[in-house]
């Protein structure tokens, strides 16, 4: 009997649950908060899935991560989801055609995605509205938050990579 569809379904269900669990931790008041800064976990998970699984699952999980980020933010719903869908699809394509799915490439791709995401939020939600001292958002919030997220990002990558390898073994059996 062919169990491949079931194994694939189990894999993506586990990815979803993993992302939801990390999202709950990410939004829990006070959890891993340093001077008001908190790391983002769902974007690294989506990027790890894009690197390990390729463009299509990466794009879908990028959109899911964005929807979760939009849910806890007060910006327009769909904004972060659209950005992350595009970034994770691009990262998935780069991994399929040009790069190897290593942790270094993952961190570089994640850094690029976080910068694009952060700069678009800064430009469209803050800079273009002309608020006083708006540069502080970039220097004291967005950039430190990106660094904090990058520092912790190998953990979700290793978890997703491990799950991916385990499921690939089961699919080959």
């Amino acid at each position: 009997m062919n169990n491949r569809p079931k194994i694939r379904a189990a894999k993506y269900t586990i990815y979803c649950l993993f992302m939801l669990a990390l999202y709950i931790l990410q939004t829990t008041p006070g959890f891993l908060s340093i001077g008001g800064l908190k790391p983002n976990f769902v974007i690294p998970v989506a990027m790890a899935i894009a690197v390990c699984e390729g463009d299509f699952p990466g794009g879908i999980f990028g959109a899911v991560a964005g929807i979760l980020c939009d849910f806890s933010a007060t910006s327009l719903f769909g904004f972060q989801a659209a950005i992350l869908l595009a970034c994770c699809t691009a990262a998935g394509l780069l991994t399929v055609y040009l790069l190897r799915p290593t942790i270094v490439n993952f961190i570089l791709l994640l850094a690029a995605a976080l910068l694009i995401h952060g700069m678009l939020i800064y430009l469209l939600n803050f800079y273009m509205w002309g608020y006083e001292d708006v540069i502080l958002v970039l220097t004291r919030r967005i950039l430190p938050s990106i660094i904090y997220t990058l520092l912790l990002s190998p953990l979700p990558f290793l978890a997703v990579h491990r799950l991916h390898e385990r499921f690939e073994e089961w699919l080959e059996e």
């Binding site: 939801l20 999202y23 709950i24 931790l25 990410q26 939004t27 829990t28 008041p29 006070g30 959890f31 008001g36 800064l37 908190k38 790391p39 983002n40 463009d55 299509f56 794009g59 879908i60 959109a63 964005g66 929807i67 979760l68 980020c69 939009d70 849910f71 806890s72 933010a73 007060t74 327009l76 719903f77 769909g78 904004f79 989801a81 659209a82 869908l85 595009a86 699809t89 394509l93 055609y97 939020i121 803050f126 509205w129 608020y131 006083e132 001292d133 708006v134 502080l136 958002v137 004291r140 919030r141 967005i142 938050s145």
Partner: protein, 281 residues
């Protein structure tokens, strides 16, 4: 890579992108009401977030006590086990005591303002990117009668207003947020201004009272309250002035307001669902 752009996968992802863009336009159009997709996320995520927030609060309180217990243990090793036993009993007692005190304070608001229709709510999540606004999500939504723009208060004073409302959750922007504007006056001098968020001050947990007249005698320590109107009830305490300065150009004065409510550490708030003179969206 060219094959990808001709594939069904690309068409599905493009379709999803267009749907998300449409949601974004709809959210901009409808203002305070969350889109159905977002409400679906809320129905799944909010109960988990509520539990996570409760566990986080419990763990924080537990570890704070544990540090104190260590100090006691150093002084008296023989009593350590007894202290631990008593501590576990005290955890429940102190939680109930704290809840009781909070509810008593909220009852005080109700007695002071009989026209207020209040809804108690718990903070279930804080935006990961909230260093300058301290915005948060509460566990009450339109099923509990909460509407967009409803004022949110703590027993100490004004916290902010509801920005967006879903079935079982609402997003609150605080008075530290740059998009928040509240009409306010100095109780002593009666000078009127506008309290709004400012990036420099928000990082220190303060907000800005702008447009004070140049000849105003507003001084450090003055109490700042709401002027009232359609969005906020009159005479809600916002905070006190901690600094007064002259705006660039010298046309008006501004004040730095330290909010009366401990906005960064709030765990429970009250939503004012209705008050005399309220303008509903």
């Amino acid at each position: 890579m060219g094959d990808f752009f001709k594939s069904t996968r690309f068409k599905i992802l493009l379709g999803l992108f267009i749907v998300l863009f449409a949601f974004m336009l709809r959210a901009a159009w409808t203002g305070g009401l969350s889109p159905e997709l977002e409400q679906g996320v809320g129905i799944i995520a909010v109960p988990f977030q509520k539990s996570a927030a409760a566990i986080s609060g419990f763990v924080t309180r537990y570890f704070q006590r544990y540090v104190r217990a260590d100090e006691i243990a150093e002084e008296n090793e023989n009593l350590r086990s007894q202290v631990n036993e008593l501590r576990s009993q005290l955890t429940d007692f102190e939680t109930y005591k704290q809840e009781n005190e909070t509810l008593k304070q909220f009852l005080g608001i109700k007695e002071e303002h009989p026209d207020f229709q209040l809804e108690p709510a718990a903070v279930v999540s804080r935006d990961q990117d909230n260093r300058f606004s301290h915005s948060f999500t509460i566990d009450k939504g339109y099923l509990n009668g909460v509407s967009s723009l409803d004022p949110v208060v703590s027993p100490d004073g004004l916290v902010g207003r509801v920005q967006e409302v879903g079935a079982n959750y609402s997003k609150v922007i605080t008075i530290l947020d740059v998009s928040s504007d509240v009409g306010a006056y100095d109780v002593r001098t009666r000078d009127i201004g506008t309290v709004s968020g400012n990036f420099t001050m928000a990082s220190q947990g303060a907000c800005k009272l702008s447009y004070l007249p140049r000849e105003s005698s507003a001084a450090v320590g003055d109490l700042i309250v709401t002027t009232g109107g359609g969005l906020f009830p009159k005479d809600l305490v916002i905070g006190k002035l901690v600094r007064v300065g002259t705006e660039a150009g010298g046309i008006s004065l501004y004040g730095v307001v330290e909010p009366a409510a401990a906005i960064q550490d709030l765990t429970d708030v009250m939503v004012i669902k209705s008050f005399e003179g309220q303008e509903k969206q």
